[in-house]
């Protein structure tokens, strides 16, 4: 796409001195960096590799499910495969990718800061990610666990497969997550540029902030719970073993106390991205800023009280089921608020249909459908039939892949110019987006129907009548995989050969676009003073220069 001629911004220029080549180049300068942008890029690379690994496991699973009986692997391998698919996708990709990848790169840029509050802790967070990933990987190579990523006791305390390294890997990854969250909370509170009150913060920052709250409050619970399973495996103390008076369902309560908020750790950053993409590509301010901002906090808060909806058929009392059911529905309300506000943002906008926006389109449909099937599951009596079937699998993949992965791809394309200084080929971008959206539908809509038919999840072999839909699902997954491969190829090519982007190819009013592409290591040579809200497009002639000038020394709003 041709950037419009801006009087103050000449022909698209590639910033000669930027964070990629300053203050130093070479591997050691990256491994020892304190620059949030470099750390963000390293996270992006690592999590994308993890995504590819998890995706490979997914394709193998779908291959096995082409026939009712054995297809390409034996049952024990299959059981390990879906366990590792879940572990890798959730702990190594979905939870870190947007917060630690894009969040790290963008949050300081968006609030006018030079870095995050604790750059060294940020680097530590990355190394903890690597160490946790290596430990979990060692467990996988050593055979891998076969418990499912949910590690239910007593199976997980008794099985002979290598559960402990995976649990320890997840434990270490948890600390990476906690440190990232801690960093963002302090950064948001203390490092906003003068003039940026809370109500002028980009919505991306609001959502990342809400995510960070969940990260620091929920992750320790998971850490302790996984540690208890490790100790039980090692010493057979019986914390969850009925032989010694233990309660296996207690594990489920502890596990889901983290893992349900965890899904909001995954979805809130996706919503963060979408808020930015919607505004930029409709060249319009968000319809209801306060509603969208507060709904992020609402999701984070209410999300802590809904974990019991994973235990409707576990023998808990009907009263508990009722409480968790109704609270789960409230979370759906906050999501609905966001969906309506995003859609209303398009009204009287000026929409350029670029690749990031194409992913927003997919995101919108999949979030509404996936989210409402979530509310359907929370309708307690319906969940009795659906629990632990492919209906649930389809529901969460609609959100995790349909919403979160789409948002990830939108973010990748939207901020590619800012991170690399180059653009990607827009035509290929749209082709891949269409393939992915179509492939996604064919992969997961059949799974809703399989769930209705009664096919349970984690099934290696299945009754004949389930085969047709399984074949359809695998076909869809193949299209999805091809689409993703296309993206990988053209993005890698664009790293080297993409057209130079300039500081603001999208003509966005987001604050991060006020910097050159790629940005300099110190972000802003002079601390900016913020004079307008984010995505302020109204009436402004967008060819005016970005709002940034040398500040007078003045007390800052915090």
């Amino acid at each position: 796409m041709k950037p419009s001629p801006l009087p103050s911004d000449d022909v698209a220029a590639y910033a000669p001195r930027n964070y990629l080549n300053a203050p130093a180049t070479g591997l050691m300068s990256w491994l020892n960096t304190r620059d949030h942008k470099r750390i963000g890029v390293m996270f992006l690379i690592a999590t994308t590799i993890a995504f590819a690994v998890g995706g490979l496991f997914a394709m193998l699973i779908r291959l096995e499910l082409l026939t009712p009986g054995p297809t390409v692997m034996d049952p024990m391998t299959y059981n390990r495969m879906f366990t590792l698919h879940g572990v890798v996708m959730i702990f190594l990709f979905m939870i870190p990718v947007i917060p630690s990848g894009f969040g790290n790169f963008l949050v300081p840029l968006m609030i006018g800061a030079k870095d995050v509050a604790f750059p060294k802790l940020n680097l530590l967070s990355f190394y903890l990610y690597l160490i946790g990933a290596v430990v979990a990987l060692a467990g996988m190579i050593w055979g891998g666990a076969d418990t499912g990523w949910t590690f239910y006791t007593p199976y997980s305390t008794d099985t002979i497969t290598k559960v402990t390294p995976i649990l320890l890997g997840a434990f270490i990854l948890g600390f990476s997550s906690i440190l990232t969250g801690l960093n963002f909370i302090v950064t948001t509170h203390t490092m906003r540029a003068p003039g940026m009150g809370w109500m002028r913060m980009p919505l991306f920052v609001w959502s990342i902030y809400a995510t960070s709250i969940i990260q620091i409050l929920a992750t320790p619970v998971l850490g302790m719970t996984l540690l208890l399973v490790v100790v039980d495996r090692a010493f057979h103390l019986g914390v969850f073993d009925p032989t010694w008076g233990g309660d296996p369902v207690l594990f489920q309560h502890f596990f889901w106390f983290y893992s349900h908020p965890a899904v909001y750790i995954m979805v809130l950053p996706a919503m963060a991205v979408i808020s930015e993409v919607v505004c930029t590509f409709s060249h319009k301010n968000i319809f209801g800023y306060k509603a969208v901002a507060y709904s992020s906090l609402g999701i984070a808060f209410v999300g802590f009280f809904t974990w019991g909806h994973h235990l409707f058929t576990s023998g808990q009392s009907a009263f508990d089921a009722g409480i968790f059911g109704i609270l789960s529905m409230f979370v759906g309300i906050f999501t609905a608020i966001k969906v309506f506000n995003w859609t209303a943002t398009l009204y009287k906008g000026s929409i350029s249909f670029k690749t990031p926006f194409a992913y927003f389109v997919g995101f919108l449909f999949f979030l509404v459908f996936g989210g409402m099937t979530g509310v359907a599951l929370a309708t307690v009596s319906l969940d009795v039939h659906w629990h632990d079937t492919y209906f649930v699998v389809a529901h969460f993949h609609f959100i995790m892949v349909g919403a979160v992965m789409m948002a990830f791809l939108a973010a990748l394309h939207y901020w590619f110019p800012k991170i690399t200084g180059r653009t990607y080929p827009e035509g290929w971008g749209l082709v891949a987006a269409v393939m992915i959206i179509l492939g996604f539908n064919f992969t997961f809509i059949p799974q809703f129907l399989l769930g209705n038919m009664g096919m349970p999840r984690r099934y290696y072999s299945y009754s004949e009548r389930f085969q047709a839909l399984n074949v359809a699902s695998t076909a869809g997954a193949s299209v999805l995989a091809i689409g993703l491969t296309i993206i990988l190829v053209y993005l890698l090519v664009s790293l080297r050969y993409g057209r130079v982007a300039g500081s603001n190819p999208w003509l966005s009013r987001g604050f991060e676009w006020d910097t050159p592409s790629p940005p300099p290591p110190e972000n802003y040579p002079v601390t900016p003073v913020i004079e307008h809200g984010p995505h302020d497009y109204d009436g402004e002639n967008i060819t005016l220069p970005p709002h940034q000038h040398a500040p007078e020394p003045e007390p800052h709003a915090s």
Partner: protein
Amino acid sequence: MNELLRRILFLPEQASTYAESVDQLHYFVIITTMIAAAGVFGVAIYFFVRYRRRSDVEATPRVRPKAIHEVLFIGVPLAFFVLWFAIGYPQFVSLQTPPKDAMDVYVQGKQWMWKFAYPDGPSAVNTLRVPVGRPVRLLITSRDVIHSFYVPALRIKMDALPGRYTQAWFQAEQPGRYEIFCAEYCGLSHSGMVGELVAMPAAEFDAWMATQRRGIVVSQDSAPTEGEHVRPAANVVDEGARIAAAQGCLKCHSVDGSRHIGPTFANLYGREEKLQDGKTVTADEAYLTRSMMEPGVELVSGYQNVMPTYQGKLAPPDTAAIVEYIKSLRSSASRPGPSEPPAYEAIPAPK
């Protein structure tokens, strides 16, 4: 209408009395979901086209929401969600509350099969026979890890937990055969743990039950009837369960860990029992067999000496079967080695 929607949504037949009302709520929720998704999407598509960017320097107005917008954004979904909850929750409560006159069946999930037992009646592996038109209450437990008893056609599901009983109930509407799945991952053969629910007309069921009780069919109910799919039968353990029920052992000895007139059978095998005279004994094959023959000799501390002797009532194969049954009632997944035959002294002649 019900049938049409059921087929479109790929739902199984509605084989229980509450299946249809559950499905009706399902239709309501799903149709609303689809309308909402189509609605949002449709509006979005309209906006994409109507407000597409026409020039590079277009500006946009600042549109501010009015309070009514946010009220609608919150109120409309909330109204639907609360309505669904208001219908679904009472439905759930009724799914969890068996009628008073329900017939009990014990269900035990174990890696990787289902075992069923009727109180005072036969036991079976992987095949559950129930009468049509009568409510049935399932008392479900597990021998090892967590399983989940799931019959899609009935819309019933309940986890099988080690160390406790959970319950679920249903009433079959019409005769038929329905698949039973395990719906909680339990290891290698999780997907192989498939059973069959056979709903028989009530009269047929009563006749079958009477035949079973008469002991004519000595082995358990995996003897296939015509056209029935044969599943692998269990071994002497089920025989032991049947005998223990028939001989009245279960009247004094519980199988779920609760203390009753006699020590519980749950986790009894291998337990260190403290005897009344202060000595400790391991409850192995020998001890268990001795206890059946001479109950008062090695009495567990804290219990009354009221157990009758089964000498003469139980042949050696029967006592062995009961011992195997007791051995099977362990909640830990770790298994001891194969059982040694009971090694006991010759039973002294009655005094």
